[in-house]
């Protein structure tokens, strides 16, 4: 009898919790996408979840710097439509579950007016779904792996010149533009098992194999692989002319260190990510070992794209260093803000529906050049090929933006 009473009491409590939850959820969902309208004279609060800890923390912090810099720059100029921008950035610890919690809290609890994206495809996929559910525009400075676009979300915009898997295309275009005698005959591929990394290398492999460049080695390694030496030892045993690294950051450093230790320098070396980080790459692999390594970038020091000079000056003033040390993840994040400003200027409005509608038509100028998107948020431009030359990362291809001639074959390691 006592048990039955307890059971009834427990059910009553659970029922009560359920009713409260439904009411709270109802309030929350009704306040989400429309919050910008209800608070149109206060500050423009923008929420973003960024990886400040964990695997993506190097790039995540660069994204945060970009967001913060844009906010302070736009505020110094009077804000967006007269509203001061207030960034609310929370850490997702590079976790796919935390990123969902963060955006749900930002939208339902903090009632932010707009949301900006996190770092990496892994986190952008679940985060963009949350934004879609509540009708928020989702501008992501990183995370353009193929699975993101397969979602076909109309609120999603990848703020880079091209989808991530196509970022290596410019390298393939350059290699295949070389005289046949100069082109590599064999290639090896070491790829991180990550939706941002392996697809880039695989896209390159398809192009090179179609062009007759023989694959002598291909290996995909799990993200938790601490020691890449055995993988690189097996790769070196095949003596490839060209090494393609489908990399993030830490594994990009580990690949180079292993190759230096194994005393093998290929004629061509391309890494999808990591090598395009001017701040951390020379420090982690040794500045002397960077020479000749190639990567792709959408922004570079000295770029003449809209706002680039002002961005570079503001970045150095805020964070120190030199133009060479500006991470392009910061430029991408800053460009997200530029787009919001541009939409506000063009339409006189800054609500989510207007942003989504506006960005789906026309071309928009940013630090990264002209951007436009298809219905699923996929951009339609191309990246720039960058190469380490004399300890600096310089654009070398296409010729329209090149500031130096591509160096090949890659010089030997500095040790």
């Amino acid at each position: 009898m006592t048990d039955l009473k307890q059971l009834r009491r427990s059910l009553a409590v659970l029922g009560g919790i359920g009713v409260v939850a439904v009411v709270v959820a109802g309030c929350a969902s009704s306040s989400g996408g429309g919050s910008s309208k209800s608070n149109s004279k206060g500050p423009l609060v923008i929420g973003a979840s960024v990886s400040l800890t964990g695997d993506f923390s190097d790039s995540g912090k660069a994204v945060k710097r970009g967001y913060d810099l844009w906010a302070s720059t736009v505020n110094a100029n009077g804000g967006v439509l007269g509203r001061k921008v207030q960034m609310k950035i929370v850490d997702d610890a590079s976790s796919t579950t935390q990123v969902v919690t963060n955006y749900q809290n930002l939208i339902n609890k903090d009632h932010v007016n707009l949301t900006f994206g996190p770092f990496s495809t892994l986190l952008t996929i679940p985060a963009s779904r949350v934004a879609k559910r509540y009708g928020y525009a989702f501008l992501a400075p990183a995370g353009g792996g193929p699975d993101v676009f397969k979602q076909n979300l109309d609120n999603f915009f990848f703020v880079q010149p091209a989808p991530t898997t196509q970022s290596g295309n410019v390298f393939a275009n350059w290699i295949l533009s070389l005289p046949a005698a100069d082109q590599p005959k064999t290639a090896a591929y070491a790829e991180l098992d990550d939706p941002f990394s392996a697809p880039i290398a695989e896209s390159l492999r398809a192009k090179f194999e179609a062009a007759g460049i023989r694959t002598v080695y291909k290996q995909v390694y799990p993200a938790e692989t601490q020691d890449l030496s055995p993988v690189m030892a097996a790769l070196v045993a095949k003596k490839p002319d060209m090494i393609i690294g489908g990399t993030q950051s830490n594994d990009a450093y580990a690949q180079v260190k292993s190759l230096v230790q194994l005393k093998y320098s290929p004629k061509f070396m391309y890494q999808s990510n990591g090598a395009n980080d001017p701040l951390n790459y020379p420090d982690k692999v040794g500045a002397k070992n960077t020479e000749g390594i190639m990567s792709a970038a959408d922004w570079f020091p000295g770029s003449t794209a809209v706002g680039s000079a002002a961005f570079t000056a503001a970045y150095i003033k805020a964070y120190g260093g030199t133009a060479q040390q500006v991470d392009d993840s910061s430029a991408e994040a800053y460009s997200v803000g530029q787009l919001i400003e541009a939409v506000a200027k063009k339409t006189g409005k800054i609500d989510n529906a207007t942003i989504i509608k506006s960005l789906h038509s026309g071309t928009w100028q940013t630090l990264l050049g002209s951007l436009s998107w298809s219905a699923n948020g996929s951009p339609s431009g191309e990246f720039n090929l960058v190469q380490w030359q004399k300890s600096a990362l310089v654009p070398v291809f296409p010729t329209t933006i090149a500031k130096a001639t591509p160096q090949h074959p890659k010089p030997n390691w500095g040790g």
């Binding site: 390694y221 982690k284 070992n289």
Partner: protein, 292 residues
Amino acid sequence: MHAFIQGLILGLLTAGVYALMASGQTLIFGIMNVINLAQGAMVILSAYISYQLFKSFGIDPFLAIPIVTVGMFVIGVAVQLLFLRPLKREDRAELSLLVTFAIALLIEGIMSITWKTNYRSINTSYANSSWTVFGYQITLVRLWACVLSLVALGLLYVLLNKTRFGRAVRATVQNPESARLLGVESDRVAALGFGLGSATAAAAGSVYGLLYAFYPGSHYDLISLLLSIVVLGGLGSIGGAMVGAVVVSTSSAIVASTISPAWSAMTFFVILIVVLVVRPRGLFGSTARGAI
């Protein structure tokens, strides 16, 4: 075949570092019946201290080992006195899991605040040097790390077998009650033993920082590796930890270089399961206490 032999060389050289880390783990278990989940965090803390000494004062990580060792010994003794000694003897084995995990989280938090969460690595002038022997590369840092580990393990052997302290440790390991009746101060031995286990993390950490990039959360990967090594070798056996380290390291490296790194962890766990099915106490584990 070239990849196989190069993988074997890498595995054998790395095994020394793993053995050094795991010896502290197994020593602490042998003396105190405590599974120290903070051992990985102590290795990473040592790597950070070594990194800081190199960055701020230019002290070579190998030369920094004595300084870091003393520091980690003191930290180890303090941890034992503050967090483990207050536990009731009969509950110590179970509660120590929670307590040492909490210590690991505490150390991780301190490292995150002090050094932030970026990846760090110690890049000395010789970090990428290697020797070519019959067409195979012997990485200098791994070779020195292996030699250093063997020396450290040799010193540990001498300490445990040829000194009065070592006899007290072994007596405590074999029969704590009898040791106490014969005048061994078991609490003191436990504190010093925990300090000694932490001190092995110091040497291992300095070398770890030379080999791999690390961040405060790196200890999670390490602790699962260390526990696997000591369980394979037999909890409480330093010799077992060495053999376990060789098995883990070489099997991982060979499978990664000849098949796929995706299979290397699984291959090792298959070996671990087979060994535990055939010999549940591990390779060198003993039914009675006192395998050290």
